[in-house]
Every structure is written in C-alpha cells, then in structure tokens.
Amino acid sequence: MEAATAQATAPPAWRANLATIAALMTRAKNELVRVPGAAIPGVLAPTIFFLGLNGVFGALTQLQGFETSSYESFIVPVSMLQGAGFTGAAAGVNLARDYEGGWVDRLLVSPAPRWVLLAGNVLAASLRSLVPATFVLGIAFAIGARWPGLDGLVVCYLMVAATAAVAACWGSMLALRYKSQSAAPLMQAGMMALVLFTPAYAPTELLQPWLEKVAEINPMTQVLEAARQGFVGSVTWADTWPGLVALTGLLAVLGALALREMRRTNV
C-alpha cells in the first residue's frame, strides 16, 4: 500500500533525470563562479595560441591558396575549437579528481541512471566552453577579425559547444578507465591532435601531403571548415552539414565508449 502511494507521488523518471542533469550542471557552474582561477588556464591557453599563431604565421596569407588576407579571421575558429577541446578535457580531469575524492562513488550509488550522470558532466562542459570561445572571439574582433555574420556566428558556436561535448566524452572515458588525474595529458593531447591535425594553420592545398591525408580522414576537418566558413566567406548549407554529421558521429562513438566505462565503473 505504502509502496504504491510512494510510486504514485514520485515524479516521472524523465523529470527526475532532467533535475539530476541540471543539478550536475549547476555544480559545474558553481565551480566556475567560486573558483574563477580554475577557468583561467582554459581561457588563457587558446588566447595565447591565437595571438601567438597570428603573430608568428600571419605572413602565410601572402601565399597563393589562402582564401583570406586576414590570418586572424582564418585562425580564430581554430583557437575557439581548441578552447572547447581544453574545456572538455578539463571535464575529464575534474571527473578523475571527483573519483579520487570519492564523489563519483556517491553518485554511482544514487538511483540516477549512468547516462544521466554522464550527460550532466558533458553538457556542463559544453556550456563552459562558451566562456573561452567568447573571450578569444572578443580579442579577435579587437585586432581586426572579420565579422562572420549572425548565421556564421551561430554555426561557429554550435560547433564549439558540440566539440566540447565530444572532448568531455573523451575525457570522461579516460577518467573512468584510468581513475586518476595522471591521465590528464592523454585527454589534452588527444583533443589537441584531433583539432590541429586539420587545415588549422593553412588551407588543405598548402599542407604537406601526409597532413593533407590525415586531415582528409579526420572528422574534425569538417567541423573546422563549418566553424570557419563565416570568417573567410559566406555560410552555406553545403559547408555546414558535413560538420554536423562529423560531430554527431564523434558524439555517438565517444559517448557510447564513455557510457560503457561509466557502466563498468565499480561493478
């Protein structure tokens, strides 16, 4: 009788799941507000890379094959995606830290499904990635990067948020596999390679043949081209959908692997 009453008054499962995801995202947001210093490396690193690469390789636009004479416009989506990669990887590091501190154990004994726990971490990273992206973009506009148009900006931010989700899945998978913050370099190096083994520094036709081949099969190339299109030309559906497909595929694969690790944890 009592059990039946409790079942009748309990909120539906989907609402409880959403509440759990929101609570986990709020926890991540609180960390950002309470420990602002923790966000500095994630913001500083892509900004330094953006300004540094622009200062060092800016003359490359004099080469034939560049579709823009503004290297800051060409490179800013790379730095925004790099910031998303760092932020997502940091979500993995934080998860490993939470595991070492026993927090993950407490989450795992809660009635929340494993995918909900993963989604909270991943969506929080996605949201957090907008901070470094906006900072880098502000700096880029200040030094003369081209306005990508509202549609270009929306597509770019969508790519950034989804890339952070991909990075968070990758980081969470490694965090749950190794259960130690020592895996942090692997999380960061993996995302760095994924984002930069693309036409990041120069258009495809100017890359060395081996990198051209790697970039061709790297799904992140489609993501970068989609994020970059507004900064170097006009936004088209033909340049947008491959990026969306690539991110969906990456999210499906890495999300499934992260969930698998989550299900294996403490079984």
Binding site: P41, L44, A45, I48, F49, L51, G52, L53, N54, G55, V56, F57, G58, A59, L60, Q62, L63, G65, Y71, Q181, S182, A183, A184, P185, L186, A189, M192, A193, L196, F197, P199, A200, Y201, A202, L206, L207, Q208, W210, L211, V214
Partner: protein
C-alpha cells in the same frame, strides 16, 4: 671525504631522483616530449609552405628549420616541470628534510638543476633523432649537432634556475604550474617557430630583443647552415644572462625559504 665530493654526490643523487620522478609521472614528462612533438608535427605539416615566402632563410626543409623551436619548447617546459616537481617536494616536506641534513644548501638546488639539464639533453637528443629519422640534414655535421645539444642543455639549466627560484619563493606547485602560459608567451614572442623578419608586429619587434631568440638562432644555425661564431656567442651570452638571473633569484629565494621554513 671533502666537502666538494660530498656536494657532488648529493647533486648526483638528487639529479638522478628528479629524472626518475619526471619519467614516472605522465604530467611531468608529457609537456617535455608529447606536446612539443605533436606541435612539431602539426606546425611542420601545416606551415611548411612558409619556406616559399620571400625572405625565408635558405633551408633544406621546414622540419630542419623547426627543430630548434621544438627543442626550445621542450627545454622551457622541462624547466617549468622541474620547478613544479621542486615545489611539490617543498609542499610535501621533502626539502625541509634535506635542509636539516648535513649537506650544503646550494647542492639541493643544484641537484634539481642537474636533473633539469639532463632533461634538456634528452630533449635535444630526442628532437635531433626525430629530425634525422624524418630526413632533416644537420648541416654542421657532428660538431654542429654537439653544439646544438650543448646549448639546449645549458639553456635548460638556466631556465630551470628561474623555475627553482619561483618554487623556492612560493613553495606552491600551482603557482609554478601557473607559469605555463607565460612559457608559451615567451616562445611565441621569439623566433622559435618562424623567421623574425617574417613575423607580424608587435611580435616581430619583441622577438628581436627576446633573449630566447638569440638562443634559438644559436641552436638553429648549426642545423640549417653550419657553426657560426656570432650566433653561438650571442646564444652563450643570452644563456649566461639567464643563469645569472636564475642564480640571484635562487639565492634570494633560498634565504627566504630557510627563513620561513
């Protein structure tokens, strides 16, 4: 046993410990090997068309040009990693135990620096090997390669001195770790990755006066064209300047650490 022999044994033991510590912790070794190697591959593959720009110095390949930059990056991060490890030792009380031991204080710092210098040597050998495997020529042949190795090792010792000074002064690993972005700034504002004449202002002007640019050119010259006395002397002068700065800062920081415990 003489005081000098005792100090040498302490330096050797602490140096060996710091090398083992670095190779055992992925967080310490990956900035020295993994990230600079990744960046070398990415920059060589992505920006190699830059050699066609008017004003680019004559080189056999962009990889040959980039080797010195990769060594510098690795060496700077070795100095930073050495500082972090030293600060961890301070946080955990290991350094306090060393201070209480009947050994010269300077040997404690020198031991850490010896380890950092060895990592610099490792970085130089690693990137020379990568260069040779992927077809880069060392125009200065064996003497040129030895000069490049010596300059990178000495630079690691010099930069490690500043890392050790900051570790001693702050006693906090997170403070030293926070210098990581600064390392990147110093690197990008030097001629480590591209010829200074082809860089964009204001980076171009800053790179002209950045001591790291002198060291980079000193390491690069034996690789891309052969040993050149002017570039070598400028690199040695820049390294000596950093060594003196590191010594002064370390001595002050050591006094501070002994005072505060």
């Amino acid at each position: 046993m003489s005081d000098l022999a005792t100090a040498a044994r302490v330096v050797r033991a602490l140096g060996a410990r710091s090398i083992r510590q670095t190779f055992r912790r992925p967080q310490l070794i990956s900035p020295i090997v993994v990230f600079p190697t990744l960046l070398l591959a990415i920059q060589t593959g992505g920006a190699s068309a830059g050699v066609e720009l008017p004003g680019f110095p004559p080189v056999q390949s962009f990889l040959q040009f980039m080797l010195a930059g990769a060594m510098m990056q690795s060496m700077m991060l070795a100095g930073n990693s050495g500082g972090i490890a030293f600060a961890v030792d301070i946080e955990m009380g290991f350094t306090d135990r060393l201070f209480a031991a009947p050994i010269p204080r300077f040997a404690i710092v020198l031991g850490r620096l010896a380890g950092t210098a060895a990592l610099g040597l490792f970085a130089a050998l690693w990137f020379l090997a990568i260069g040779l495997v992927f077809g880069a020529h060392i125009e200065g042949a064996v003497p040129g390669a030895l000069l490049a190795i010596a300059l990178v090792t000495a630079s690691a010792l010099a930069v490690g001195g500043i890392g050790a000074a900051i570790a001693l002064q702050s006693g906090s690993a997170s403070v030293v770790q926070g210098l990581f972005p600064l390392v990147l700034v110093v690197l990008f504002l030097s001629s480590a990755f591209f010829p200074q004449e082809l860089m964009v202002e204001p980076a171009k002007t800053i790179a002209e006066y950045n001591p790291l640019s002198f060291i980079v050119e000193g390491v690069r010259e034996p690789i891309i064209s052969g040993i050149d006395a002017t570039h070598t002397l400028e690199a040695v002068a820049a390294i000596l300047g950093i060594v003196v700065l590191g010594l002064v800062l370390s001595a002050r920081a050591l006094r501070h650490r002994l005072r505060v415990g």
